[in-house]
Symmetry: C2
Subunit: 233 residues, 2 copies
């Protein structure tokens, strides 16, 4: 296999230099259906104005060529607000628009396969719902983990089993990489997250279908910003 | 936008050095449904043994992570037979397995977007059914064109309109890049292709659903190997 990335044995830059956990305090994941009647772009812009540090483009239905214009606009927007921009699943789209990283799930390309073909500073997130999967993903080169479904949710029809906050805590304890909670995050539940040692939360419906996305982001950020128990495994 | 490929102004290697048109004489495109009860891998191996110079992995249904093992096996097989290996649509999968190139259609990432993020020697094919689309794709960096649907076909449910052999001829005349005919290629029709100046044919059903794929490839290669009218626009 032609490898175009760094060999696995080359040292990568220290995590902190690549990815401050602060930038994962809130990842706003897009969903065109939930955003309706607003556009994904309009909601993302309001979220960024309110301080969202990361946006993830997720669309399991549209062809990648049809997603490209939106991906480019979100890349421009996130750059303007100095936010991170991730693309779910489609590494090719992420590379094509110069995204900061890709978020991978169990049916996407494995972390090791992606790590071997992307630049060293390209970020890889991986969805892991148990400590072993989390450790394996980090060993393969994941920079952060999405962990859930923490609470029941209606946003992701393909969401896996609900794992609860105790399992989330165990995943956080298992790895040094930042862990972002996902699944059913409401303001009430967001306030439970800082003591778990998570870096933050990833939300779909809480922002996409909010009457006032900027207000939703402000509230979530405030609740996620409480003093955290640091992840000290 | 971070560009990880060569700048558009850097000269690329001459076409002939990258891609001999002989290697496009026959592109065997995979289809798990049509291959049944055989596996795609078994059919591909028989095709390669019979001399098929190129294989393209195409699967619009499976998740990319689930396709990865097959893609790796096809990459190994094609390397063993010194054949080219292309992946349809999924540039990320193509890069992950070290494929020689990607084949793009109108709803995939545009050629220019892919060209800007891949190595200089990575091949890009594009589906174009008229002279203007063909010229535009070559200007953006396509190395070869798939042109069709030349004849009615049942293999691709998403195949576009039937263009006929006169339009194929006009596309061939419009560009210097090699043009591969696709759509409804049978042995009878294959014999009509060499005088059009096409580099070859891309087939799905003619090999995937053949009782004897090796025999089907041998017959097609013989018919496509007749003396060609060279493309001299």
């Amino acid at each position: 296999m032609r490898s175009r990335g760094p060999a696995a044995t080359e040292p990568r830059r220290p995590l902190a230099a690549r990815l401050s956990p602060e930038r994962l305090r809130l990842i706003v994941i897009t969903d065109p259906g939930l955003a309706t009647p607003k556009t994904v772009e309009a909601v993302a812009e309001q979220a960024l104005e309110a301080g969202a540090p990361s946006i993830q483009l997720r669309d399991k239905h549209q062809a990648v060529g049809e997603l490209l214009p939106l991906a480019r606009r979100l890349r421009d927007l996130t750059r303007r607000f100095d936010a991170l921009f991730f693309v779910n699943d489609r590494l090719d789209l992420a590379l094509a628009v110069g995204a900061d990283g890709v978020h991978l799930g169990p049916t996407d390309l494995p972390v090791s396969a992606v790590r071997s073909v992307v630049p060293d500073d390209f970020l890889i997130g991986f969805s892991a719902d148990d400590p072993d999967a989390a450790k394996a993903a980090v060993a393969e080169g994941a920079d952060y983990l999405g962990c859930g479904t923490v609470w029941p949710t209606g946003s992701k029809r393909d969401a896996g089993q609900v794992i609860g906050i105790d399992r989330l805590r165990r995943v956080v304890a298992a790895v040094e990489a930042p862990v972002v909670a996902i699944g059913g995050i409401t303001p009430e539940r967001a306030s439970l997250l800082p003591p778990t040692g998570t870096a933050g939360a990833a939300v779909i419906g809480a922002v996409m279908s909010a009457q006032n996305p900027a207000e939703a982001v402000s509230i979530l950020l405030a609740l996620l910003d409480s003093e955290r128990t640091h992840n000290d495994p």
